[in-house]
C-alpha cells in the first residue's frame, strides 16, 4: 500500500515542487549566466572575433574562421612551451603534494607532545590563507636585486648578487617550493583527518601481534588512507591542464626573461586576452577546457576500474 502511494505521489507535480523550484531559481540563474553562457561563448574560438561593439553583435558579425585559430596556436613556438610547463609542473606537484603531506601527517601523529603538534599545524596552515599578491610581495622582499635579503646574504658571504627575476634556471625550484609551501597545511589537514579516524583497535591488535611502528604504518595506516589519497589524486589529475595562475603570474612578476619556465596555458591565455589577440587565446582556452574535461573523465574511469568505491561518478 505504502509503496504504491509513494509512487503516485512521485509522479505528480506537487506544490512543494513549485516551491523548491522557486527556491533553487536564483542559483540556477547564476549557473546559467556564469557557467553555461560561457560554454556557448566557446564559439569565439572558431571565429575571427573582433572586440568593438556589443558582445552578441560581435559574435554574429565576425566571420567563421574554422580551425585557423588552433592552427595558429599550435604552429607557434609558445604551444610547446606552455604545454610542457603546464603538464610538467603539474606532474611534479601531484607527486610531491601527495608524498610530502602524507609523510608529514604520518610523522605529526607520532609526536609525543600533542599540543606542539597542533601549534606546528596551525603555523603550517598560515600560507594557505594568504593571497598570491601578498606572497608576491613577500618573495620580493627576499629576491629583489638591490635590496633583497637573499642578495644581502650572498654579498655578506662574499658572492656576487644574483638578479633573480632574470635568471630562468632557479625558477622551477622556486615555483615547486612555493606550491608546496602554500598547500602543505591544507594537505596535512585532509590526511590527518583520515588518520585520526582510524579505529584504534586495529593498532591494539597489531601491537599484540608484535608489529613495529613501521609495520603498523605500512599495513594499517597507509591502506586506510588509500581512499583519500586516490581521491586527492583524481582531483589533481583532473586539473592537470589548469595551473594556479597566481603562482605562475604574480610570483615571477610577469618577468619576460622567465617566459620559458613560468608561462603555462593560463598565463598565456590571460596575457593574450589583455593584448587583444583574442583568437589564439580563445583557442588555447578551448583546448584547455576540452582536455581538462577528458582527463577528469579518464582519471575517474581508471579509478573506477581499480577501485569502484573511490570513483567520483
Amino acid at each position: 500500500m505504502k509503496k504504491t502511494g509513494q509512487k503516485r505521489l512521485r509522479t505528480r507535480w506537487r506544490k512543494q515542487d513549485t516551491e523548491l523550484t522557486l527556491l533553487a531559481l536564483p542559483t540556477t540563474v547564476w549557473y546559467i549566466l556564469f557557467c553555461f553562457l560561457p560554454m556557448f561563448g566557446i564559439i569565439i574560438a572558431f571565429k575571427n572575433f573582433k572586440i568593438t561593439g556589443g558582445f552578441l553583435s560581435n559574435v554574429f558579425n565576425s566571420s567563421w574562421s574554422g580551425f585557423k585559430n588552433f592552427e595558429f596556436l599550435f604552429k607557434s613556438n609558445d604551444a610547446w612551451i606552455i604545454i610542457r610547463n603546464t603538464l610538467g609542473y603539474n606532474l611534479l606537484f601531484i607527486i610531491l603534494n601527495i608524498v610530502i603531506p602524507v609523510t608529514l601527517a604520518l610523522m605529526i601523529g607520532h609526536l609525543h607532545n600533542r599540543r606542539a603538534g597542533k601549534v606546528y599545524q596551525t603555523m603550517m596552515f598560515l600560507p594557505y590563507f594568504l593571497s598570491w599578491v601578498v606572497i608576491s610581495a613577500v618573495i620580493w622582499a627576499f629576491l629583489s636585486f638591490d635590496k633583497g635579503i637573499a642578495n644581502q646574504m650572498l654579498i655578506q658571504m662574499g658572492s656576487e648578487p644574483v638578479n633573480w627575476y632574470m635568471e630562468p634556471k632557479y625558477w622551477p625550484f622556486f615555483l615547486v617550493f612555493m606550491n608546496i609551501w602554500k598547500g602543505l597545511g591544507y594537505g596535512m589537514v585532509v590526511y590527518l583527518a583520515t588518520i585520526t579516524g582510524i579505529d584504534s583497535t586495529y593498532y591494539e591488535a597489531a601491537v599484540i601481534d608484535g608489529a613495529s611502528i613501521w609495520q603498523q604504518t605500512k599495513y594499517i595506516t597507509l591502506p586506510m588512507m588509500k581512499l583519500v589519497i586516490v581521491m586527492m589524486f583524481i582531483l589533481a589529475v583532473g586539473r592537470i591542464f589548469y595551473t594556479d595562475f597566481g603562482l605562475f603570474f604574480q610570483v615571477p612578476r610577469d618577468s619576460n626573461s622567465l617566459f620559458n619556465v613560468t608561462t603555462t596555458i593560463d598565463v598565456l591565455v590571460y596575457k593574450q586576452l589583455k593584448t587583444a589577440t583574442v583568437g589564439m587565446a580563445s583557442a588555447a582556452a578551448f583546448v584547455q577546457s576540452v582536455m581538462g574535461c577528458l582527463t577528469i573523465l579518464l582519471a575517474n574511469w581508471i579509478v573506477r576500474r581499480i577501485d569502484p568505491d573511490s570513483a567520483m561518478m
Binding site: 512521485r10 527556491l23 609525543h112 593498532y203 577546457s289 567520483m312
Partner: protein
C-alpha cells in the same frame, strides 16, 4: 601518563616512537613551521623599518632602525587606502552573504529526494565541475554581455557559487536533517521557503560557518577579478591596490590627498619600499588573527568535502 594516553589516537597510544626519533621529528616540524611563518615576520619587520635604512642597506630580517613612518604615511594618504579597505570589506560581506544563500538553497533543494527536478538540477551543478567555457569566453560574457566591467558586481557575482560548496551543503543536509522534521513541517502547512529559512538554516550552523568562511577568505584574498574587470581606481580592493603598488610604487602618491605639497615632492619624500609592505601587512593582519580561531571549522569543512555525497 595514563590520563594523557586517553585522548590519544590509536597511532599514539600503542607503540610510540623512541625519544631520539621524537626529538628529530620535533626539529623537522619546527623548521617547516618557521619557514611558513618567518617570511611574514620579515615583511612586518620591513614595514616597521625606516625608509632611510632600507635605502642604504636594503631589506633586513630584523629592522636596523625602527620607524612607523610607513604606517603614518599610509594613514595620512587615507582616501585611497580607506576606499580600498571599504571595497574589500563590502565585497567580502555582500559576497559571503549572497554566496551562502545561493549555495545553501541549492544544496537544500538537491537534498530533497522527492523533488521532481532533482535530476535536472543535479546536472546543472555537476556539469560545470567537469567542463567550463574557459577564461576568454567568461571574460567577454561577463564584461560585454552582462555589463559587469568596472562595477563592484564583477568582484562579487562570479565567485558566489562553486559546485563543490553546493555538494558539501547537499551532503550535510542529507545526512544531518531527519526527513521527519521536514515532513511534519509540511503537514503543518509550512511552505518550503519557511521550512528552509526558519527550520533548516537555524539548525545548520556548522555548514553555514564552513561555507561562509571559505567564501569570506576567497573574497578577501581575491585579486584576479579586480585585475580582469576593474580599471577604475576607485573600485580597487586592498589586494588590487597592493598589486598595483608592486609594479608602481608611486601609485599611492598619485591619488594622495595633497597636504600642501606637490605631487613630485610627495613622490620624493614618500616611504616607497616600506609603504608597500605596510599595505601587505594591512591585508594579512585580519587573516592572521582570525584564522586560528576558525581553523576547526575549516578542518570540518575540508573533511566533509572529502566524504562522498
Amino acid at each position: 601518563m595514563a590520563s594523557r594516553a586517553e585522548g590519544m589516537t590509536g597511532l599514539e597510544k600503542f607503540n610510540r616512537i623512541g625519544k631520539g626519533m621524537n626529538v628529530l621529528f620535533h626539529l623537522i616540524f619546527i623548521l617547516i613551521a618557521l619557514v611558513c611563518v618567518v617570511p611574514l615576520l620579515v615583511v612586518l619587520s620591513i614595514s616597521l623599518s625606516s625608509e632611510e635604512s632600507i635605502r642604504q642597506t636594503g631589506y633586513h630580517m630584523i629592522p636596523t632602525m625602527l620607524s612607523t613612518e610607513s604606517y603614518s604615511f599610509v594613514i595620512q594618504q587615507g582616501t585611497m587606502i580607506l576606499r580600498a579597505l571599504g571595497v574589500s570589506v563590502l565585497v567580502t560581506v555582500v559576497g559571503t552573504v549572497l554566496g551562502v544563500l545561493l549555495t545553501t538553497s541549492m544544496g537544500y533543494v538537491l537534498s530533497q529526494s522527492n523533488y521532481k527536478l532533482k535530476g535536472l538540477l543535479t546536472w546543472v551543478v555537476f556539469i560545470p565541475m567537469v567542463f567550463n567555457g574557459g577564461l576568454v569566453s567568461s571574460y567577454y560574457i561577463n564584461s560585454n554581455l552582462l555589463g559587469l566591467k568596472d562595477t563592484v558586481w564583477a568582484l562579487i557575482l562570479p565567485l558566489a557559487v562553486s559546485s563543490f560548496n553546493v555538494i558539501i551543503c547537499k551532503t550535510f543536509f542529507k545526512s544531518t536533517i531527519p526527513d521527519g522534521l521536514i515532513e511534519s513541517a509540511e503537514i503543518d502547512g509550512a511552505s518550503q521557503f519557511r521550512i528552509f529559512f526558519s527550520i533548516i538554516l537555524p539548525i545548520s550552523l556548522p555548514v553555514l560557518a564552513t561555507i561562509g568562511l571559505f567564501l569570506c577568505f576567497a573574497y578577501w584574498n581575491d585579486w584576479f577579478q579586480s585585475m580582469l574587470y576593474i580599471n577604475n581606481q576607485d573600485l580597487y580592493s586592498l589586494q588590487a591596490l597592493l598589486n598595483n603598488l608592486m609594479s608602481n610604487v608611486d601609485a599611492l602618491a598619485k591619488n594622495a590627498s595633497s597636504m600642501g605639497v606637490s605631487y613630485s615632492m610627495l613622490v620624493a619624500t614618500m616611504p616607497k619600499e616600506t609603504a608597500r609592505m605596510a599595505v601587505a601587512i594591512l591585508i594579512v593582519l585580519p587573516v592572521a588573527f582570525a584564522y586560528p580561531f576558525f581553523q576547526k571549522y575549516f578542518i570540518s569543512g575540508l573533511t566533509v568535502g572529502a566524504i562522498k555525497g
